[in-house]
């Protein structure tokens, strides 16, 4: 049984190793910790990819690890790949981005512990374990957000902490109601016990608490106010981690709880409507507010909110009777592609700040000539975020749109809203490109930070690869969605 937890063991061991080795190192040598974490992430990624290979043969590798606390299925493995890829990008980028910072040991171990929490959250099918895993991941990021000391960072971290703690409270409350209603903490047992229609208002209350609690974590409107401040104030690699990984973890939990545990048709009808409203409001507000942002990190934060709205659409579709694997698969692929492109975009800001380039739109003027490779990857990420063909984001957005159109009827309205939002978003993404390449004026090319650039180029390459050869990624995400139920 332990061997099926090999990836998690690797991450845990390396996280602890970072802490202990940190104590033995002189300050100048601590860059080594970055490489150590990198090795850990790479090893864990290799182990997870082996699991993926197995899971492609039989979608459910182990149904009940530790007497039913966890379930290692393709769904879990899929998300573990996402989290580890993001961790890889962030660690690789951080070696350059945190070169001048002092507390490297703490930094890398927190990143690893947070990743560990996410990996457990991906596998958890028990409310208690899920909560603990989510908390492990989030509490680590509280500290990460406050990693650099400045007024803005402290404010960002404080806001993030207060909202995070509050939303965890909401989640626990929702979970305890679920337990009270069903007498079990196992998601699959809850699924069997719910849906009788008894205690109607308690059921609704549980759903509302869970949606609100996780709504804060995915920064859905109206629970989003913390996200722009936090993403803007936190160090850029941490913002990348928050937007690309932590947020995705909340989606894992949402999917497991709602799609599995609350799958009784009478319940789906209720929460799907709530999600539909949430999706419509979230994508529209996120994109429209992003239009007026002059700060790139803030703009990316609002775009993140908008993109979360796209994923929320698929929850709404589940009441329509449309193909569940297609709908959920569309959401999964978008979570994947968004993690890579948004993580990449924040890392670009990190690369820019390496040369003391700020994150205002004007600061990015002529980035195309100053840091050509960085600007090139940013262009790839932005076009992908906008959903331009031959980039990853187009494929996943196409899947969401298709799922929406397939649901038909009133859901088409969500599809049209998605399309209009997509056009709005193209404007503010293209504006950054315009600044990077067509601002005019003279600049000098600077040597780009090697590892950070490697991280960016790898991410950009993956985005293009998925865009040009999407076949296996599309079927992977559809199969992963299917493994939730099989």
């Amino acid at each position: 049984m332990l061997e099926s937890l090999l990836p998690e063991l690797i991450v845990a061991v390396f996280a602890l190793a970072v802490i202990f080795i940190d104590m033995t190192l002189r300050e100048d040598d601590r860059e080594f910790l970055g490489y150590l974490s990198l090795a850990g992430v790479l090893l864990a990624l290799a182990a997870v990819l082996m699991q993926t290979k197995e899971a492609l043969q039989s979608p459910v590798l182990e149904a009940g690890v530790f007497s039913g606390l966890m379930r290692i299925d393709l769904f879990a493995v899929f998300f573990k790949v996402v989290f580890l890829l993001v961790a890889l990008m962030v660690v690789l980028g951080s070696i350059d981005a945190t070169r001048k910072d002092r507390y490297k040991g703490e930094y890398y171990s927190l990143v690893l512990f947070s990743t560990l929490g996410m990996m457990f959250a991906a596998m958890a099918v028990d409310l208690v374990l899920m909560f603990v895993a989510v908390e492990l991941a989030t509490i680590s990021t509280f500290a990460l957000a406050a990693y650099r000391k400045s007024r803005r960072t402290t404010e960002a971290a404080m806001k993030y902490f207060v909202v995070g703690a509050f939303s965890s409270g909401l989640i626990v409350f929702g979970m305890s109601l679920l337990y009270g209603l069903s007498g079990s903490t196992n998601l699959y047992e809850i699924a069997g016990a719910m849906g009788s229609g008894d205690l109607y208002w308690v059921q609704v209350l549980a759903m509302v608490f869970l949606i609100a609690g996780f709504g804060y974590k995915v920064a859905a409107v109206p629970f989003h106010m913390w996200a722009p401040d936090t993403y803007q104030g936190a160090p850029s690699p941490v913002s990348a981690f928050l937007a690309a990984a932590t947020k995705k973890m909340a989606f894992v939990a949402l999917l497991r709880i709602f799609v599995v545990a609350l799958s009784a048709p009478a319940l789906v009808e209720k929460w799907a409507l709530l999600f539909g409203i949430l999706a419509a409001v979230t994508m529209t507000l996120g994109n429209v507010v992003a239009l007026s942002q002059r700060n790139i990190k803030r703009m990316l934060a609002y775009s993140s909110i908008g993109q979360a709205g796209y994923v929320l659409i698929i929850f709404a579709l589940l009441a329509s009777g449309a193909d569940v694997s297609l709908s959920v698969g569309a959401g999964l692929l978008h979570i994947f592609t968004h993690a890579i492109m948004k993580g990449g975009a924040f890392l670009v800001v990190a690369a820019a700040s390496y040369y003391m380039i700020g994150s205002e739109l004007e600061d990015f003027s002529n980035l195309g000539r100053r840091l050509p490779l960085t600007a090139l990857s940013m262009t790839v990420f932005l076009l992908s975020l906008a959903g331009i063909p031959f980039f990853a984001g187009f494929v996943s957005k196409f899947m969401i749109l298709t799922a929406t159109v397939a649901a038909g009827g009133w859901y088409l309205f969500l599809g049209i809203l998605l399309v209009v939002n997509s056009v709005v978003s193209l404007y503010y993404y293209a504006r950054v490109i315009r600044y990077m390449y067509f601002a005019g004026g003279e600049v000098r090319r600077e040597p780009e930070p090697a590892l950070l650039t490697v991280a960016l180029l790898l991410a950009a390459l993956l985005v293009v690869y998925i865009g040009v050869f999407p076949d296996s990624f599309v079927s992977l995400s559809i199969d992963a969605a299917g493994s939730l139920f099989s």
């Binding site: 076009l383 331009i388 063909p389 031959f390 187009f394 494929v395 749109l401 298709t402 159109v405 397939a406 088409l412 599809g415 049209i416 399309v419 209009v420 997509s422 056009v423 193209l426 404007y427 293209a430 504006r431 315009r434 390449y437 067509f438 999407p470 076949d471 599309v474 079927s475 559809i478």
Partner: protein, 485 residues
């Protein structure tokens, strides 16, 4: 021959020309010229194979995204081939027109050739997902080209064309997805079969969604507002491509998707479409009358002529549709020549303002005479290609909607009016101060494209039969769909 070469060779050329300029081995422009020449040769080879009776509809098919039945399917019939040849030719013109372009040439020609790959893809794709993907990707190089090499208000113009046509395209995409969900595949043929039995309400909805996309691209009034800015601000070679080819994407889509896939539905809306097109014809002609900038005048004239083209499509008559396809080629050639000349005007005289160009013909006779020729071609002088196209369109329209046809005829003097008035003020008349200092030299890369275009416009005008006959195969199939001859 593999039609895929027509897409991949420009793409390869794009990469090579970018790298060539960076490494300094060869100049980007010679790589670009070689690439476009090769593409043109291959297009001619494809044409010869087609005329030799090869079945290229579809030619090849490969699975791309299996879960959605998406394939990489290419194919060509007479209509696609006419546009492929037009693309190949106008790209030669555009490359020569960019011979001395400023800025980073590696990037410029890389973007230009990437766009060619996209355009070829649009005209060859027989999988609607593939069609959409190429359709969208054309916009991105255009955005960069306008932004990087355009006129004063370039960033505004580039953003406008990007956002407007993207909006239209996405509505079209919803329509395509709806057809896919009906057919279970994106293949043109599967969808064609599946739609035959679909209910009318569904088809109307799909048609309207598709039409929005085409109307933005063609463009028809009131979806045209992006056009004057984009055409005027783009650098000359890009304007040639925008007006000559990108607008044809919309018309091609209307024929390939609107007419071929949804014939009865389109026929139900044909009158409305024709009225919209007629409004475009007149609105754009009147607006052209008021322009001081010759490039803007040609831009509006282009909208007017594209309206003419749509009238031909909406006539649903054999001659009318043949005329419309003929007009695609003819308008492509004429508008390319006109925009090429506006580029030369800036180069030689230093202005595009009509009142400041008086007496051009005395100082720069080559430029002046070709401008006269191009204007006459555009206004539909008999003996030139525009006349053949517009006459066929009118004949088709007379047999279907005589009332609309009578009104359309009224636009002809209007068109003649704004062109002749422009000529009178610019080319003839008293020599202006600016023209006094005009350069009259003509270099090879200026003369060659002009001569080729002039020759082709005349040839198609005097002897249109071969092209008409070839087009006839496509339009006959289209008319057969609705139970015509």
């Amino acid at each position: 021959m593999m039609l895929a070469n027509l897409i991949f060779i420009p793409l390869l050329g794009a990469v090579v020309s970018y790298l060539a300029e960076r490494t300094g081995v060869v100049s980007a422009r010679s790589v670009a010229l070689a690439t476009t020449l090769l593409t043109a040769v291959l297009s001619v080879v494809a044409l010869l194979e087609f005329l030799g009776g090869a079945d290229m509809f579809p030619e090849q098919s490969r699975v791309w995204i299996s879960d959605f039945g998406i394939t990489f399917t290419l194919g060509a019939d007479a209509m696609s081939l006419s546009l492929v040849l037009l693309t190949a030719l106008l790209y030669l013109v555009a490359v020569l027109a960019s011979w001395n372009i400023g800025g980073n040439r590696g990037r410029y020609f890389g973007l230009l050739l990437t766009m060619e790959a996209g355009l070829m893809g649009v005209f060859l794709a027989l999988d609607l997902f593939l069609f959409y993907v190429f359709w969208e990707i054309v916009l991105i190089p255009a955005f960069f080209l306008i932004n990087g090499w355009g006129g004063e208000r370039r960033s505004y113009a580039a953003m406008k064309v990007l956002i407007y046509t993207h909006l239209g395209s996405l509505f079209m995409f919803i329509g395509i997805i709806m057809m896919y969900l009906k057919a279970g595949s994106f293949s043109f043929f599967d969808i064609s079969d599946a739609l035959a039995g679909a209910d009318a309400g569904f088809k109307s909805m799909v048609f309207l969604l598709l039409f929005i996309g085409f109307a933005f691209k063609i463009p028809l009034v009131p979806f045209h507002t992006w056009l004057p800015d984009a055409y005027t601000e783009a650098p000359t070679p890009v304007t040639i491509l925008l007006a000559g080819l990108l607008s044809k994407m919309g018309a091609y889509g209307l024929l390939r998707l609107g007419v071929s896939l949804l014939p009865e539905t389109f026929q139900n809306y044909a009158y409305a479409v024709a009225v919209l097109a007629l409004i475009s014809v007149f609105y754009a002609a009147f607006t052209a009358l008021a322009q001081r900038d010759i490039k803007r005048l040609v831009a509006f004239s282009s909208v007017s002529h594209m309206g003419f083209l749509v009238l031909g499509i909406a006539s649903f008559d054999f001659i009318g549709i043949s005329g419309a396809i003929f007009q695609m080629v003819s308008h492509g050639l004429i508008v390319a020549l006109l925009f090429f000349l506006t580029g030369m005007l800036v180069e030689k005289v230093g202005s595009r303002e009509i009142p400041r160009l008086g007496g051009l013909i005395t100082r720069a006779p080559f430029l002046g005479w070709v401008l006269v020729f191009a204007s006459l071609a555009s206004l539909g002088l008999p003996g030139l290609s525009g006349f053949v196209a517009e006459l066929s369109i009118l004949l088709g329209l007379f047999s279907t909607y005589p009332f609309l046809a009578y009104i359309t005829v009224l636009s002809l003097p209007l068109t003649a009016g704004y062109y002749l008035w422009m000529l009178q003020r610019s080319t003839f008349g008293a020599t202006s101060e600016l023209v006094e200092g005009a350069r009259s030299d003509v270099r090879w890369f200026e003369a060659l494209p002009v001569l080729v275009l002039v020759l082709l416009i005349t040839l198609l005008g005097v002897y249109p039969a071969p092209l008409m006959e070839m087009i006839g195969t496509t339009s006959r199939e289209i008319v057969a769909l609705i139970g015509g001859i």
